[in-house]
Every structure is written in structure tokens, then in C-alpha cells.
């Protein structure tokens, strides 16, 4: 299949206008020695029907959540995506456009991003949000860079922070000159140090944390602020209908993985990096920021603003190198949040919490299974200890149609993280408990 529209006649006339004899002549700047002789070692082109059959076969070789009941989380969750979300975000005027360099032709994307920023501020009770980053992990990286812009170097990370976030921090830190220091948290949460050295730029806490546990964010905030550092909170947007927002808990910068807002699991991406902060940080923020302004008639409109922060203007002095971002995911998140409203978001949170609590009771009642962190309060995810290897139990349950959770080897090879969204039913939870009992018997 081909999309280039040229007829032989077009090619002939265009070459004539250009003033060259052949298509090959257009490439004569390429030194002979560098020219590829003969075709690349790739299959030949195929038709639309063939490529869709090929892709269909690959897709069918996967076991998707259409046939596995999902209790896996650890940062990516099987929430319900309302049909209206992608019926709208999927409109081609949105998804075939690009960065709004000509704002007059891009008011749709710009206004939607302005609404996204506004909703993120409403959720977090912080002053300002950008218009998306790659994902939750890279959003945390950017938050740390914002905090380090002050000149301090060290980065302390609470023990309850997801190790894959820490790993991502470590990778980027190698370039920026820091190594995240992870605090002890034997109880699965807390572990607030007595005090802070003056060279600490940021303290990072995740709430609910990687084990789903509700952290004592305020203590971390007091620690950070007492020591002149910034508090960065990693939050879960689906929790903010019921849980106190980062702004109220003392966070200076808050970041999140926004996948659970209208985005499909997509085997890991594209997801949505959310970053919000207090106003004083606005000029240190990475990425696109949309602002409202007026046109020459004095009517309101939207533009990209504070671009002096960005790479295309500030180059090596930019706050970040990000250019292409996750705008379409932000559009989907905006539509999903508008679909939910304050009531729906609260209902969503209540359902997650209630079903997770029920699942906790059901699973810890399975002989041999116990809570990894018995009396820690949690939101929609929790950790259990199973007899034997968590990974093996998980695999055995796959054969019974369940994706039972995600192993947490860093706290023990027998630990399994179990996430329960509003999408799960009591019947499914009971069935999982039953199956787990059988598997362990």
C-alpha cells in the first residue's frame, strides 16, 4: 500500500519544473560510497488487509484483559474508560494536529489543555500545572530537577516510593549529577528522618505509596520545609475525590501517572505525566504551558506561554529538553474528568477503596496468605505474602483466568501487590480468592 499520491505524469512534470532528469538526481548530494545499493533487508510492502491480519495475529497471541481478570496495578490500573472519551479525543482534528505554533488554528487543543491545567489545579489544590509530560516516572524526574534548580543537590526518597520511579530517577540522575537516596521504611511506609542536611534539595514521598498505603505526607512536608527543601508528592489522581490533595498536605510540587484518567493500559504507554506546583515554581516548570490572553479585538483566546523556559528558545539553559509530549492523553484525561465531575470522582474513589478492602479481607482469609503490612491503611492496592514464590502463584492464577497482581521482590519474593479498581465485581474478587485457595492447596 502507498500513500504518496504522485502519478507518473506528476513525477515527470515536477522533475521538469525542478530541472532534474530523474528522481535519482534529487539524491546526488549523497556521496556514491554511501548510497544503499539494492533494497533494504526488509519484507516487501503489503496491502491494508494483510497488515491488519498480521497485527491481528500478534494481538491474538497476547492474553489481554478481555480474558484475564485484572488485579495488577503497581502504577498502571484497569479503570473503566467511558466510551465518550475516545469518541472525542479520537476526533482527527485533535489527533492529526501538532504543537500549536499557529494558535489561531489550534484553539481546540489549546483550550482543552487550558482546561486540563485547570482541572489538575483543582484536583491537587496547587497553583499551576503544565500541559503534560511523558509519564509519571519522568514527571517525577522533572519535579526533582525543578527542586534542584535552587542549587541544592541531594534527593531523599521515602521508602514507600515505587522502585521503578526510583530506578528512572537514578538513570536521569547520572546525567544531572545526583543519586536518589532511599530512606528505610520497614513498616512499608513512613520512615521520616529526624532532620535534614542543608544540601538536600527535595524529599519525595508517594501517597498512596507503592504498597497502596496511605503515607503521613505532612510529616515529610514538615521535615522538608524545616530543612529548606521542597516536598515532592507522587499522587494517584483517582484518589483525589476522597483523599486530601497534595496542596493541602504541604507538597510544593506534585506529580502523577495520569493513565488512570481515560487512558487505556496500552502495555505501558502512551501514558500521561502530570506535574503541578506552587506559583513560585512556574518559571522552573518543564514543558508546554497554555495561557489565556486576548486577541487584537480584545476577545479571549489561548496560546503557549512562558516559552522562554523551553528548549526551542532557551536551548541548553531550558528547564527541560521535552518537546513532543502527551497532549492527546491530556485531552482524554480532561474529557474523563469532565465526565466524572466532583461527584463521579468521589464515587470512583469510594468504590476502589471499598472493593480493595473487601479483596483484602477475602484474600488474607485464604489459608497461608497474610497481609504484608497488617495494620497499614490503604486505598486501592495492598500487599500480601503468599506461601512460596509470588511470581509462581501469579502464573498459576493466569491459567485460571486471573492477573492476580504484581510481585514486589524488593520486599520479599513472596510478596504480591494486589490492586482493585471500581471495575472489579464482588463475584470476581470471590472467584480470585477461591482460585488462590486452590492454587495454594
Amino acid at each position: 500500500m502507498r500513500f504518496a499520491p504522485h502519478t507518473d505524469d506528476d513525477v515527470r512534470q515536477m522533475l521538469a519544473t525542478i530541472g532534474v532528469a530523474s528522481l535519482d538526481d534529487l539524491f546526488d548530494e549523497i556521496p556514491a560510497a554511501l548510497r544503499v545499493e539494492g533494497p533494504l533487508d526488509l519484507p516487501g510492502g503489503v496491502s491494508e488487509q494483510e497488515i491488519l491480519e498480521d497485527l491481528g495475529n500478534l494481538a491474538r497471541a497476547d492474553r489481554s484483559l478481555e480474558d484475564l481478570v485484572c488485579f495488577a496495578g503497581a502504577g498502571a490500573y484497569d479503570h473503566f474508560v467511558p466510551s465518550a472519551v475516545w469518541a472525542l479525543a479520537g476526533r482527527s482534528e485533535f489527533f492529526t494536529s501538532y504543537t500549536p505554533y499557529q494558535p489561531e488554528l489550534s484553539q481546540g487543543v489549546l483550550q482543552t489543555l487550558f482546561e486540563f491545567q485547570s482541572m489538575v489545579c483543582e484536583l491537587t489544590e496547587l497553583d499551576v500545572s503544565n500541559a503534560s509530560l511523558y509519564d509519571g516516572a519522568t514527571a517525577l524526574v522533572e519535579a526533582v530537577h525543578m527542586a534542584r534548580a535552587g542549587g541544592r543537590h541531594r534527593v531523599l526518597v521515602a521508602g514507600g516510593v515505587d522502585p521503578r520511579l526510583v530506578a528512572t530517577l537514578r538513570t536521569y540522575g547520572a546525567g544531572s549529577g545526583y543519586a536518589p537516596e532511599v530512606l528505610e521504611a520497614p513498616a512499608g511506609w513512613g520512615g521520616v528522618p529526624a532532620e535534614l542536611e542543608p544540601d538536600v534539595a527535595a524529599v519525595v514521598v508517594q501517597h498512596p505509596n507503592v504498597f497502596g498505603i496511605l503515607e503521613d505526607v505532612t510529616s515529610f512536608a514538615e521535615l522538608a520545609h524545616g530543612g529548606g527543601a521542597e516536598l515532592i508528592q507522587v499522587f494517584d489522581p483517582t484518589s483525589l475525590g476522597v483523599l486530601a490533595p497534595p496542596g493541602a498536605l504541604g507538597a510544593d510540587i506534585a506529580v502523577a501517572e495520569g493513565q488512570s484518567l481515560g487512558n487505556h493500559l496500552n502495555f505501558g504507554g502512551p501514558y500521561l505525566g502530570i506535574l503541578a506546583a506552587r506559583m513560585e515554581h512556574v518559571r522552573k516548570m518543564p514543558g508546554r504551558i497554555v495561557g489565556e490572553t486576548l486577541d487584537v479585538d480584545g476577545d479571549p483566546g489561548y496560546v503557549l506561554t512562558l516559552q522562554a523556559r523551553e528548549q526551542h528558545i532557551r536551548r541548553e539553559k531550558a528547564t527541560s529538553n521535552i518537546c513532543t509530549n502527551q497532549t492527546l492523553m491530556a485531552i482524554a484525561a480532561t474529557i474523563h474528568l469532565a465526565w466524572l465531575g466532583p461527584e463521579g470522582l468521589a464515587e470512583l474513589g469510594r468504590r476502589c477503596a471499598a472493593k480493595a478492602a473487601y479483596a483484602f479481607t477475602a484474600l488474607t482469609a485464604v489459608p497461608g496468605v497474610r497481609a504484608a503490612f497488617p495494620d497499614a491503611p490503604f486505598f486501592k492496592e495492598f500487599a500480601i505474602r503468599v506461601p512460596g514464590e509470588a511470581a509462581e502463584v501469579r502464573d498459576a492464577l493466569v491459567d485460571r483466568g486471573f492477573l492476580a497482581g504484581v510481585p514486589a521482590p524488593w520486599v520479599g519474593s513472596d510478596v504480591l501487590l494486589v490492586a482493585v479498581t471500581e471495575r472489579r465485581t464482588k463475584a470476581q474478587i470471590d472467584a480470585l480468592a477461591l482460585a488462590m485457595g486452590e492454587v495454594l492447596a
Binding site: 533487508d41 476526533r91 482534528e93 511523558y134 528512572t168 471500581e422
Partner: protein
């Protein structure tokens, strides 16, 4: 007159946000009745006051975002000739593929046994990209080009460190895209700019002088930012290699050379690809994209984890075992659904198809250049551009005072999205034009006519240019005001 213009649906004429439609008690949401005991969030953790999200019916939601979508220009509504962005047709079939439950409804942490299809897709795509670029292995994890750049630079850093001789500097041309210097800094290097010669190519002499044993490497696009092929590329890469440095290929312009030449053959060690450019994955209003990075054999140990590996029995798995790896660049597996679209594009076209893509991309750019260069002279008139060209309207400005921005806005009233303007910074009043291969001759001629008309109006009807746009949902917007009186939320 609105001849042929879209219907304006009902709705407030001026920009009004969804918040303004909100009424307490309206709702779109629905949930199944709670089938378990409700639980209370511990008091000390409870939210005090509800967030100010809008309360609207589903129909209001649908109308609001349908209206906003119609206030946006996209490739599906017209040519979008942004330089360096390869705004080509985004095949609808790729959307069908990406929506398949076997891709869209996959959790990133499922056990490998349940993800063999997804892993095989990544495996095949990695190999195809390596063949296309002349690299040994690649990571598909970076979610965009800039992240690919940083990935490459961190590998550069790890490589030199492994040699026991860390290096501090990375060379980039003056005209380089902003992400290059920004990534260099995030990679922990100092960016050193190398000048261009009077042909707009890398000044090889100057480069030679700039290179020393503290130079970790050089970043280059080829064709370069002016759309010109760096014909001395072999000398350039050799210079860097001889000094122990590595050469990074910024693949934003790969659409010019597919099947014609390969970065690997030119001597590049690291290559990133922008799938949302070369492989037509939709730009999504600003993203998502994907920025796979390929490397030569000696850099393979440093590639990020996880990597897709294949066991002897043919099964695929995600491997974290790579002691020298720089680590992970993304929370999970990168922008997988974007890579599905890239796979669809690459294997739909195949070897000859991709070669034809570049052929027609270069044909279109040269044709359009030929139609307008007398009015908008090329920044480098002596060299043939490839998939894009850079013109300057500095003469027009000096003669009439009309800025290239006025031309851009006038194009809107003439029914076209403008090319990139004021970039590259090294060219005054720059107009950077990349039509891509999917545009027809007639469309190129229409755009050329519009550009020529706008230029002519600079003398005949300057007011039309100053007033433009008149036919867009808003008139020209005050960006200075936006930055001065920050209004970043409702």
C-alpha cells in the same frame, strides 16, 4: 462569506470553558451499584472540599469537545507544512490496529507468557529499525525524540566512563534543534557549538579545531536543519572517531533518506527516530510520539532496560539483566501503542515502500521550492534541498516591512497552515517548509500560489497581512500579554 466553510454548531460564540457550562447536580458519570461494604477513608486522610470539576451531562460534554475539535486544524483538514515535523498522512488503519484489545488492553507488568504477541511486535520493529538505520540493536523505550537524544547521550557518557576516561563536551551545529543542546545539558555535558560554513554545512575545518580528547561526541542531523545533505559526513564522523568520540544521529530528518543511505553507513554510532514524523504516528496535538534509539555493536551493553530478548526456544521475554545498562528511561515499556502504529507503517510499506516515501518527500520539497524560491529565496541557493527547504523573507521585510509572521497569518485566511517560521534561528526571517510525500501536486501548487499572493500583497495590500487572520476562530493573539499577565487556569 463562509462559502464552503464548516457549519458552526450551537454554542457560545466566544471561547467559554467547560467550567462555565457546569451546573450543580448535572452528571455524565455512571457506576454499577456498590456490591460490597462501603468503607470510610480515615478522617485524617479525608479530602475537606470537593475539587472544582465541571458538572455536565454527557451530551454537553460531547458538544463542547466536538466544537473544540472543529476549532483545530490538522493534517486531516489540510496541508501542515511544518519544517522538521514530517506532518504526513496518518493512516486510519494504524488506529484500527492500535485499538485491538490484544494491544490496548494489556497491562505493562503482565508475565511474559501472556505478552508474546506484543513482545514479538517490538522485536520485529527493533530489527527493522536497525536495518533501516544501519545499527546493531535499538531501544524502543524513549517516548519521544528528545528523550531518545538524552538516552543516547547517557549511553555516550556511560561509554566513556567505561573507557575510564569521562569526557565533558558535546559538539552541536549552530542550527541544531533546541532539544539537542537541552539534552546535552541533561546528559551532563557542555554543549559546544560548531559553526556552519558559507554553504550552510558543518565547517569541517572549524570542527577539526574544536575536537579534542575532552569531546565525548558530536550530534548531527543529516540532511541538516536547512534540509541540506552533509556531503562531507564521512570526513566528519572520521574526525570525531579519530579523537575517540562518538557521533549521534538526530533522526528527525530521516524521511529524506530511507532506502537511499543509512546513518550507520555514514559512520554514526547512535541514531534516534521520531516515529511520529517518519512513520506517520499521529502527532496528537503535540504528542504522544516515540523516539527509538539504535546503536552500533560496541554501545549495545549500555542500552536501557528492559530489553526484548528471544530465548533459544523462540519465546520472547523482557530482560533487565544488563549490568552496563544506563537503566530505564520510562516508567514502563515506552509508548507501546505508538510503536504499534509505527510497526503498521513500516511493514505496510516494506523496503521499496519506504524508499519511495523518501523519494516522493524529496520530490515534493524540491517542487515546492522551485515554485516559490524566486519570491522566498532559499537560505542556501546553491545547494539542493532534500525533504524540506529553508527560505528567507528578509528581503521582503527590508523592502516592505512585512514580517514572515504576517505571511504566516495571511496564509490562514487563504486556507493553509503556515510552515515553521523564525527557525532555524541562524536564518533571518526564516520560513522552514516540509510538505511531506503525501501531498498532491495540486496542493503544493495551491500553497505556492497562496505564498506568492501573500508576498505580492506586501506591496499591493499590506493591510490584509497586518489584519490577518480574519477567518479563524480568533484574531491574532497577544502572546506578550499572556506571559505578562499569567492566566494559566480558570
Amino acid at each position: 462569506m463562509r462559502r464552503g466553510a464548516p457549519v458552526r454548531g450551537q454554542g457560545p460564540p466566544a471561547a467559554s470553558t467547560i467550567a462555565e457550562l457546569s451546573r450543580p447536580g448535572r452528571r455524565a458519570w455512571s457506576f454499577a451499584p456498590l456490591d460490597v461494604e462501603p468503607v470510610e477513608v480515615p478522617a485524617e486522610h479525608r479530602r475537606a472540599s470537593a475539587p472544582g470539576l465541571p458538572e455536565v451531562s454527557e451530551l454537553e460534554l460531547v458538544r463542547h469537545y466536538t466544537r473544540l475539535s472543529q476549532m483545530n486544524y490538522g493534517v486531516d483538514t489540510g496541508i501542515y507544512p511544518l519544517g522538521s515535523c514530517s506532518m504526513k498522512y496518518n493512516p486510519k488503519l494504524a488506529e484500527v490496529a492500535a485499538a485491538m484489545p490484544g494491544f490496548a488492553r494489556m497491562h505493562p507488568l503482565q508475565p511474559d507468557a501472556t505478552t508474546q504477541g506484543a513482545l514479538e511486535l517490538l522485536w520485529r520493529l527493533e530489527r527493522a529499525l536497525c536495518e533501516l538505520t544501519g545499527m546493531a540493536r535499538a531501544t524502543l523505550q524513549p517516548p519521544a525524540g528528545a528523550c531518545g537524544e538524552l538516552t543516547g547521550l547517557l549511553m555516550m557518557r556511560a561509554f566513556h566512563a567505561a573507557q575510564g576516561a569521562p569526557r565533558a563536551k558535546v559538539l552541536i551545529p549552530d542550527a541544531a534543534h533546541g532539544t539537542n543542546p537541552a539534552s546535552v545539558r541533561m546528559g551532563g555535558f557542555d554543549a559546544v557549538h560548531v559553526p556552519a560554513d558559507d554553504r550552510g554545512l558543518v565547517d569541517v575545518e572549524a570542527l577539526g579545531r574544536a575536537i579534542d580528547d575532552d569531546v565525548a561526541g558530536l550530534m548531527l542531523t543529516n540532511p541538516n536543519t536547512l534540509g541540506l545533505f552533509e556531503r562531507d559526513i564521512e570526513r566528519i564522523t572520521k574526525l570525531v572517531h579519530d579523537a575517540g568520540g562518538l557521533v549521534y544521529y538526530d533522526g528527525a530528518n530521516l524521511n529524506a533518506i530511507m532506502g537511499r543511505t543509512r546513518p550507520g553507513d555514514m559512520g554514526f554510532d547512535i541514531v534516534h527516530i521520531n516515529t511520529h514524523k517518519t512513520f506517520a504516528t499521529p502527532h496528537g496535538g503535540g504528542g504522544p510520539g516515540a523516539g527509538p534509539v539504535g546503536v552500533v555493536e560496541r554501545l549495545v551493553p549500555f542500552l536501557p532496560v528492559p530489553r526484548v530478548e528471544r530465548d533459544r526456544d523462540g519465546a520472547f521475554h523482557l530482560s533487565e539483566e544488563a549490568p552496563a545498562s544506563i537503566g530505564r528511561m520510562h516508567g514502563f515499556n515506552g509508548n507501546f501503542a505508538v510503536l504499534v502504529r509505527a510497526y503498521a507503517y513500516v511493514f505496510l510499506h516494506g523496503a521499496d515502500g519506504l524508499r519511495e516515501v523518501s523519494e516522493r518527500a524529496v520530490l515534493n520539497a524540491n517542487y515546492l521550492a522551485a515554485l516559490v524560491r524566486d519570491v522566498f529565496p532559499l537560505a542556501q541557493p546553491d545547494l539542493r534541498p532534500m525533504h524540506e527547504f529553508v527560505s528567507t523573507s528578509v528581503e521582503l521585510k527590508d523592502r516592505t516591512g512585512i514580517r514572515v509572521m504576517d505571511i504566516a497569518k495571511r496564509l490562514i485566511d487563504l486556507g493553509y497552515h503556515a510552515p515553521t517560521v523564525y527557525f532555524p534561528l541562524v536564518v533571518e526571517e526564516a520560513l522552514m517548509v516540509e510538505p511531506t510525500e503525501t501531498e498532491t501536486r495540486e496542493t503544493l501548487e495551491g500553497l505556492a500560489a497562496a505564498l506568492r499572493q501573500a508576498a505580492a500583497e506586501a506591496t499591493t495590500d499590506p493591510q490584509a497581512l497586518h489584519d490577518a487572520p480574519l477567518s479563524a476562530p480568533v484574531r491574532r493573539l497577544d502572546e506578550a500579554r499572556a506571559a505578562r499577565q499569567l492566566k494559566l487556569r480558570w
